[in-house]
């Protein structure tokens, strides 16, 4: 056990953890909007809209995240037309490619979580809103969404942790996140166990924090 290496690598890994957290928070934020959008499409009665939203979530949940990143990072750059548009400014950066892939991926899972939350809302609550003369738009924004968010908190907490682990794949497209730096240190020192303990410890610590924040929110918004 090489304690010195563990202590020396800690600051480097902590710096890299900041990048991991940045990737995580930005993609979760975008993914939440994508998820909400597709969850609403899933509730739509139009079969084409419905199928489209289902297809999106099926494809992104049925393929590995690694494939999604590679398609976006290596694949989209191949299209000549894209290179000439403004989008290229974003797509040539591995950082943004990773975020797009993560956001689309977590969006698919989030849409499923929110959809099932919307569907479990008791009809009586919506009827109560209607009988009070509240417009259906207000019912949706002020009654259905808050209840759905509360309902989906436990499942969404799991999704956040899964996504945090997913951000490790950013290291495959040259981003030096926590896993990227850990791999670099392992391959230069050949001390995998020591580095794994430090890097894994940081990941576990982040998992622990997320877990407890979600637990706190669950308690706060329970009824």
């Amino acid at each position: 056990m090489d304690l010195e290496l563990m202590i020396n690598s800690l600051p480097k890994l902590l710096n890299a953890a900041v990048i991991t957290l940045k990737l995580l928070s930005v993609s979760l934020l975008i993914g939440l909007f994508i998820g909400l959008f597709f969850a609403i499409l899933r509730l739509n009665k139009n079969i084409f809209v419905n199928r489209f939203a289902y297809g999106y979530s099926y494809v992104f949940r049925g393929t590995p995240l690694l494939v999604q990143i590679f398609i976006i990072y290596f694949g989209l750059g191949q299209i000549e037309y894209l290179r000439s548009t403004v989008l290229w400014v974003i797509l040539k950066e591995p950082y943004w490619c990773a975020i797009i892939a993560f956001a689309l991926n977590t969006g698919a899972y989030t849409s499923e979580i929110l959809r099932s939350a919307f569907q479990t809302i008791k009809q009586g609550i919506i009827e109560a809103g209607k009988s009070l003369g509240i417009s259906s738009k207000i019912i949706f924004y002020k009654i259905q969404i808050p209840i759905a968010i509360r309902q989906s908190l436990p499942a969404y907490g799991n999704e956040i942790i899964l996504m945090m682990k997913g951000t490790s794949l950013a290291s495959t497209v040259t981003i030096m996140d926590l896993t990227g730096v850990a791999k670099y240190i392992i391959s230069t020192t050949f001390k995998p166990i020591e580095v794994f303990i430090v890097a894994g410890g940081i990941y576990l610590f982040m998992t622990f924090i997320i877990h407890n924040v979600i637990k706190f929110l669950e308690k706060k918004y329970s009824f």
């Binding site: 099926y58 494809v59 049925g62 393929t63 590995p64 995240l65 690694l66 494939v67 999604q68 590679f70 398609i71 290596f74 694949g75 989209l76 750059g77 191949q78 299209i79 942790i161 945090m164 682990k165 997913g166 951000t167 490790s168 794949l169 290291s171 495959t172 896993t179 850990a182 791999k183 392992i186 391959s187 050949f190 995998p192 166990i193 794994f196 890097a199 894994g200 990941y203 576990l204 998992t207 622990f208």
Partner: protein, 230 residues
């Protein structure tokens, strides 16, 4: 379509073999995972605090640390660990471990942590009366477990195990970093040599979708089989 031709001109046969490799690794990993679950589920349900602690550490660490990091640990650390054990028995030559074994083992340990949680949940949700009834019937420990508890556990566990299978199947794509030629690695090679990454990675996505789709259909049949009588 020419790119997918079988033979020397296309990548069809290579990708087909790679798909078989993905299936082989996934199944091996799933079985290794079951073996781990077989060890750790009893530990989780045990009344002994120390055994509980060991099993909880296993599932918490594996489920809280990225799969890729675990794979790197095995990839870089596996050889060292095996050589260390071999050196105890007096063997000091360099040993190279097969990428298949390292990969299947790494994914298996991850899959085992999820399976353990699934089995724990399933066993815990079996009515206490079932255990008592088995006792009353005078069944011995094995009879009780294999004839009474296991069939009921399987029925409850299959839907969740199918999720574990999906996770395992998708996780095998990560083994490509160790050089094992499965779908992802083969697509990477093909994309590199034809300079057509969009096509090959999209095709890889289709292959994975196909695998998840077919396995879902098969698992649904299993689910029906084990729900007989309900």
């Amino acid at each position: 379509m020419e790119l997918l031709a079988f033979g020397d001109n296309g990548w069809g046969d290579e990708l087909f073999r790679a798909t078989l490799m993905t299936i082989a690794v996934s199944i091996t990993a799933m079985i290794i995972g079951f073996l781990f679950a077989l060890i750790f589920t009893p530990l989780k349900l045990s009344k002994n605090k120390f055994l509980n602690f060991i099993a909880n550490s296993y599932t918490t660490i594996i489920r809280g640390v990225p799969e890729l990091l675990v794979i790197y640990l095995f990839f870089f650390g596996g050889t060292g660990a095996v050589m260390f054990v071999a050196s105890i028995f007096g063997y000091n030559e360099y040993i190279e471990i097969n990428a298949f074994i390292t990969g299947a083992f790494a994914i298996g340990i991850i899959s085992g942590a999820y399976s353990t949680e699934v089995f724990r949940g399933a066993i815990q949700s079996i009515d206490k009366g079932q255990f008592e009834a088995a006792n009353v019937l005078g069944l011995n420990k094995f009879g009780k477990f294999f004839k009474i508890i296991l069939p009921q556990t399987l029925r409850l566990a299959i839907p969740n195990l199918s999720n574990v299978w999906q996770i395992t199947l998708k996780d095998t794509s990560l083994i490509s970093v160790t050089g094992l030629v499965e779908i992802m690695r083969q697509s990477y090679i093909a994309a590199g040599s034809t300079r057509d990454p969009l096509f090959f990675y999209s095709f890889a996505a289709v292959l994975y979708l196909l695998l998840t789709f077919v396995s879902m259909k098969l698992i649904n049949r299993l689910e029906v089989k084990y729900s007989r009588g309900y």
